[in-house]
Amino acid sequence: MTERQLANSLLGSMEYDPAPESAAIAKLKSSYGLFIDGSFSDASSHEQFASINPANESTLATVAQASTEDVDRAVVAARRAYDKVWSKTTGAQRSKYLFRIARLIQERSRELAVVETLDNGKPIRESRDVDIPLAAAHFFYYAGWADKLDFAGFGAGPKPLGVAGQIIPWNFPLLMAAWKLAPALAAGNTCILKPAETTPLSALVLAEILEQAELPPGVVNIITGDGATGGALVDHPGVDKIAFTGSTEVGRLIQQRTASSHKHLTLELGGKGANIVFEDAPIDEMIEGVIDGIFFNQGHVCCAGSRLLVQESIADEVLRRLIRRVEQLRVGDPMDKNTDVGAINSAAQLMRIRELTDVGESEGATRYTSSCTLPEKGYWFAPTVFADVAQSHRIAREEIFGPVLSVLTFRTPEEAVTKANNTNYGLACGVWSEKGSRTLWVAERLRAGVIWANTYNRFDPTSPFGGMRESGFGREGGRHGLEAYLDV
């Protein structure tokens, strides 16, 4: 009998009644074109592809497949907008456009949250409480920078780079669009944004918002498509800057392909974050933080705390409590307001997670998987914890990008730091301890761009985010985020 069944037999069912959000709020159209030069148009090939709801495999809408020709059209529009309009628009004016966009995101937040959850599979609680509010906050934050660039610490009159090509992933579709567009526009660049193939819809709603905000045509162009579209954008000679968020594998290709050009580049790539737990950690907060660190957004988070490093003296208790908590996670309909863990974003991602977890078992780690019932249709993976993981195991080295936690142990702070840094990545780490001096000692030695102490997966527009080593270079957020879009 599982713990859940035991509790139910003793106390009666403790299940919540369904509390679904309405899909109709999304007001989705049946098909979308490319947003170029201020209006929607068909792709040159008239080719469309479907965006799927990963929770039930139904088609939400079809979107245009941008060709090389369409990419060129977008670059020409962005260049013209840069030369004729945006570079002559004062910082104060740019600022007000960004404030307008922020307000419109807030005003359409419920619609955007529903679109995001339908298209991505993440729980509505997360899109409503995290993705959309943070996206609005990001525009608000950078709106205020647009007329203050002289005081941003890069000398007087810092110049924008020009036309920026921005390629974003499927894990936080609207939030990543905001992270890219807001600082670029504040700094005075014009943009071509390519959302991920599997999650293009919230960016297309954002295009409507840009129209509503009366942003001059061509300042932001949003083109949907697959990897070939992204490749054409990366290779286009009219682009001055490429900003990419995605896998290290693709980031490496982009760095290679832009190496012989004048293009500026920032990369926000993969990670294998270590969450380090010392024996004096506040245990209840820590368990919640570790759970949130790996199961937030189904683990589709580049900075996920996917390696738990726990001090040996408390390892048994931590593992026991983790497994109990994993059993309590509510997995299922992302539109249900009580859901904790939603759908895996795509069949391809599900396959990768299955492959790596199979390897985890065959390499000798001990697997605990939630006994939750998974919906029949859609892409689902039950939250999973691996114990007895060695550093050499693939599940301890490779980014799984799914709801899978690998647990390792350590004895001394030195060993914890060594193990945490034993990776080619360097994006994020967590440290759990009530001893401030030790936390800072560890933080100083971790080779990671973001370190959360007694918390995890916190984001804020004022706080620089980005990686070291093979997790990429450049920062998003804060004053530092402007540097990626200024010629300084």
């Binding site: 906050a137 610490g153 890069f154 000398g155 290290t248 980031g251 490496r252 760095q255 290679q256 190496a259 012989s260 004048h262 500026h264 990369l267 790539l269 080619n424 401030g436 936390t439 800072l440 933080a443 971790l446 080779r447 990671a448 761009g449 973001v450 370190i451 959360w452 102490a453 007694n454 918390t455 916190r458 804020d460 004022t462 706080s463 620089p464 985010f465 980005g466 070291m468 080593r469 093979e470 997790s471 990429g472 270079f473 920062r475 804060g478 004053r479 530092h480 540097e483 010629d487 300084v488």
Partner: protein, 284 residues
């Protein structure tokens, strides 16, 4: 004219605080701008470079582990050492670059003043590039600049002293360790500064200087997996793109001043700096 035979010095590599001849047993002849014999110089190999990277990796932790104040003291000590050997430096600049005695003295002054400039930066850069971030929640959040780690530098081919000083001490002053490939035809000013670092309290391996044939050595530096960043200033136009591509293999930070701007700004100091952001909960 004295009939005393002069004692000729062979310029050797600087790796991990020691002066090995190249493990390859090779040396090459360096001439003055006029074509006269200047010196024999060790011709470093790919193996020498790899040894230098190992040394740099170990040294970087010590260098970054020292206080910023201490790093400033060490860099200033280097300026003192250079000042006391300025005539020797000037002679080499004059011969290598084919400039007048007076011009070479000016170059030496500039380079020493640049070292002093970097000495002053060690304990200021954190406040200029870092700070606290007012996040919307009960967290103390701060960002600090930390070094990328080990930086490979292809030194400028012409600007043998000031170019070298800027290229290596900008990353060093912010806490990196450097493996530098000196100017191929004008390596002796770099070799001299390298010698001076060993009497200035730098931990061994913070600066490694490998002399030799740039095109032979550069690909090893660009593709080395334990190097975090490369400065391609001294690469030829024909090879720079290929080296930048090789650097992408391990997502290196690649600095190309001739492509991305080289005006006097903080670019050099920021080129091999990472931002580390810490969130700490606030509560009772």
């Amino acid at each position: 004219m004295s009939d005393r035979l002069d004692v000729r010095k062979t310029y050797k590599l600087l790796i991990n605080g020691a002066f090995p001849r190249s493990e390859s047993g090779r040396s090459y002849e360096v001439t003055s701008a006029k074509g006269d014999f200047l010196a024999n110089v060790a011709q470093g190999s790919r193996k020498d470079l790899r040894d230098a990277v190992v040394a740099a990796r170990a040294a970087q932790a010590k260098w970054w582990g020292a206080t910023a104040y201490n790093r400033g003291q060490v860099l200033y000590r280097l300026a003192e050492m250079a000042e006391s050997r300025r005539d020797e430096l000037a002679d080499h600049v004059a011969l290598s670059e084919g400039v007048s005695k007076k011009a070479s003295q000016t170059t030496v002054s500039t380079s020493i003043d640049r070292i002093v400039w970097y000495a002053g930066w060690t304990d200021k850069i954190a406040q200029v590039l870092g700070g606290t971030n007012p996040v919307a929640g009960p967290f103390f959040n701060f960002s600090i600049p930390v070094p990328s780690g080990v930086v490979g530098v292809l030194c400028a081919q012409d600007d043998s002293l000031v170019g070298f000083v800027d290229a290596v001490f900008a990353p060093i002053c912010v806490g990196n360790a450097v493996v530098a490939i000196a100017s191929e035809r004008r390596p002796t000013p770099a070799a001299l500064i390298g010698e001076m670092t060993t009497s200035s309290d730098f931990p061994a391996g913070v600066l490694n200087v490998v002399t030799g044939i740039t095109d032979e050595l550069a690909p090893t530096l660009a593709s080395h997996e334990d190097i975090d960043g490369i400065d391609l200033t001294g690469a030829s136009i024909e090879t720079a793109d290929e080296l930048a591509r090789a650097g992408a293999g391990s997502i290196k930070r690649v600095r190309r001043p001739n492509v991305h701007g080289n005006e006097h700004s903080l670019r050099g100091l920021r080129a091999f700096v990472e931002t580390s952001t810490v969130w700490h909960t606030i509560g009772q």
